[in-house]
Amino acid sequence: MKRRDFIKVTAKGSALAMASPIVAELIGVCPAGAAELEWSSMAGADYEIGKVLAEALSKGGQLGEVYLEETIRTGIRVSDSKIESIQLGSDRGGGVRVINDWKTGYAYCDSWESGDLKRAAGIASRIGKPGAAVTQMKASDVKAGSGRGIASYELDPSEVLADAKVRVVELADRVAREYDPAITQVRIDYRDEIKRMVVFNSDGVAVQQETPLMWLSIDLLASRGDRRAPGYVRRSAKSGFEYATEDFVRETAEEGARQAVAMLDAVDAPSGEMPVVIASGGGVVFHEAMGHGLEADGVDRGTSFYAGLVGEKVGSELVTIVEDGSIPHLRGSFDYDDEGTPSRRNVLIENGVLRGYMSDWLTANKLGIPLTGNGRRQSYMHYPLVRMTNTLVVPGTSDPKDVISQTPRGLYALRLGGGEVDTTTGNFTFGVREAYLIENGKITSPVRGATLIGNGPEILRRIDMVGDDTTFWPGTCGKGQWVPVSSGAPTLRIASINVGGTA
């Protein structure tokens, strides 16, 4: 299937010149037999983006920005082998942002009509002050198409017939149930999305991109006698429907079922301070415990525990933490962030030394730090904030087997649950879905109900072994707005951390 440019900008070379409105036109090419889409309703619309930006900056300001978005989502939920819900949502809207004196004004509308956008711009402009300096608008070519291929796709999920998606969930349900007779309940959540966005600003940024997103998660319950144990697995990627191969669906369902069955024999988790080995894929610890503290907005407010520590040693020298929104197809990846900055690899902590922060337009300019491509928003209804993309601990040198065998006693956290952090203090808590005791360097009984409680900066110093097997786990990060992220880590050991358990 041929990728299509969904907006063609015809005002070449002077896209943001105030006097020459941008004329955007949709080219909707739907392959025969595919679901008909509503992008074509855009055709012929006349986007006077320059005029909208002029209205936005009419009371002064450092930055004017227009963000347009169209998103189509499908979701299927299966419970008890029945399709409990099937849904389709389509949204179109635009948001106008004005930054003046580092203050943000934002307004949005549920349309792309220039009249509605101008009205939103008028509201957003109120953050400006009469007499404030108006940024000189710079012209730029629109970066046509997504271009970089970081979130490229073969099959636009919105053009794939519902039948094919139903086959995915049916296969997942069957594979999970056939895995073991103990599997008594299976709930499946399938979601796909295609988001098309355009962002223009008075700095001359003019970017358009389309980003697909796929999600499959499975919640299971295993029962044996009066014992019950939950299992959970999720997979997600910035890919098209080609992601959902039969092998992929089987592997996902088997992994969820394996976990539920394994946890049937779980005993109560121990509590107290102990060494914890976090299995490969446990990057959520670093997302929560360090990542949020390295977002430049908290640094700007002085509320982050990492404020003012660039160049300082903040952790074990075994630890290098990187933020990288440019890794192809990961859940937190994209070509450009929601302010139009290209995604890239940013080293946050290198061998234990703090190297820099994540930024968006406002914090980068205000603090005089590099623009890192971390300006993200949930949708056109939200202004950008500094957000993570894919946060990872780079592989170390230890063999994961040695990390376990060299731990006489402790907890092996194979699959982590969700977590939260207080970025002021660095204190974090997260759950462990699947954990085992380590006794005499060997993995023994599964344990349930374990919670890890610690302090981010402190834990970073206590990492004493780092494996060479970094893998990623997809997540959705909340900070008043939700954005898709992933986090990656190798097998690693925290010399001592507080485990909250019931035993």
Partner: protein, 446 residues
Amino acid sequence: MDSISVAKKLLGLIEKSAADAGEVYLQTTEGVDVEVRDQAVERLKNTQAAGYALRLVTGGRMAFVSSSDMRDESLERTVARGVDLAKHSTADESNVFASPSPEVSVETYDDSIDNVSIDQKVSLLKDTETLCFAYDPLISKMEGVDYSDRKTETVIANTEGLLSRRLSTSFEIGAGVVAEKNGDVENGWEGMQSRFFDKLDPPSRIASSACGKAISRLGGLSVSTRTVPVIFDRSVAHTVLAHLFQMVSGDRIASGTSMLKDRIGDKIASDLVTVVDDATLPGLPGSRPFDDEGTPSRRNVVLEGGVLKSFIFDIGTGLKSGAASTGNASRGGFRALPGVASTNYFLAAGDTAPGDIIKTTKSGLHVTSLAGWWVGINPTTGDFSSGAKGFWIENGVVAHPVKNVTIASNLLAMLSGIDAVGTDLFHRFGRVGPTFRVNEMKVGGA
């Protein structure tokens, strides 16, 4: 075009389509979000949104389609798409819509939404910020002071003949502060939601509560692992209620995954425990005349004197469980599928003054903050564990602040072990409770 007309138009399109039955849910929202920092507006966001969702049934199969595009051709396309999509679903007898029923009157609208100026909202926040810094020199930073308000019009219409409209307002204020002393850093937050502007806590109360929390946490110590009585401050009472809600929610009753599914009429908690969900109370955050399927609101007693009285249902989960909807269908905006949710859901006030609960505790933990509690609740087993902060109580008085501990137990053990319930119930949010004490929980420390 007004919302009723759009809803009727959509209903007309559904009636002309191949759908056997259908429902229109249409929502229009406007409001502002303001954040103040250093006595100036840091962020100002204007919300003006409208959209609709349809549930369409053909041959017992249901599809859900939503769109923010209100243009005529889009309405037609959405209906057509929904009818097509429904074919892929599984037929289910519980795919039915609400019948028209007499209206319930609930106070949910405050016309000051149109009269309070943006300057008044901003000065509310400026005052709060000033009062926070004036509270104590230990208050070193603000995490932020925020205000938001919304005016929401909701119209629900269906092919059973139901056509209902409700208009509501909501107001919210919150402040987060940081206290520092000798390198120790703690934060505190206070906030409130109401359907009435003048019912919001004044800046002085928000500020003193947030600052008091932060300062009182300074100098916290861990304690060694032990089993002791745990007092839940009213600011954390909602955590245990959330855990209970998972087990009485129609989702888990209908799917058979709640450990309480066969326990109606059983005593599962101490005599002191009465839990209610009531959307008919005037002006509270969860108040509304009818739910998001159009079922009239009512008062539902979940637990009374420790006896399990009722579960919480929407139409679908009720039908699957042989019960009627309790008026608890809710949607997180028009884009979201309706599901079972609580409204004004609370642990009823008891008769012990909160101070007396502390005074009568020989040795125990008074918890004022829980971190990651939602991670540590296991609805299958009832296990509950969480990171906690608070105060150590020795011989009825505060010995020292406590941090870096965990508390753990099982929900049913906790409910049965509640041996004191405070008088201090205050509907600050939708889910609240007074201070209460659990006779014993595992406290895990260093």
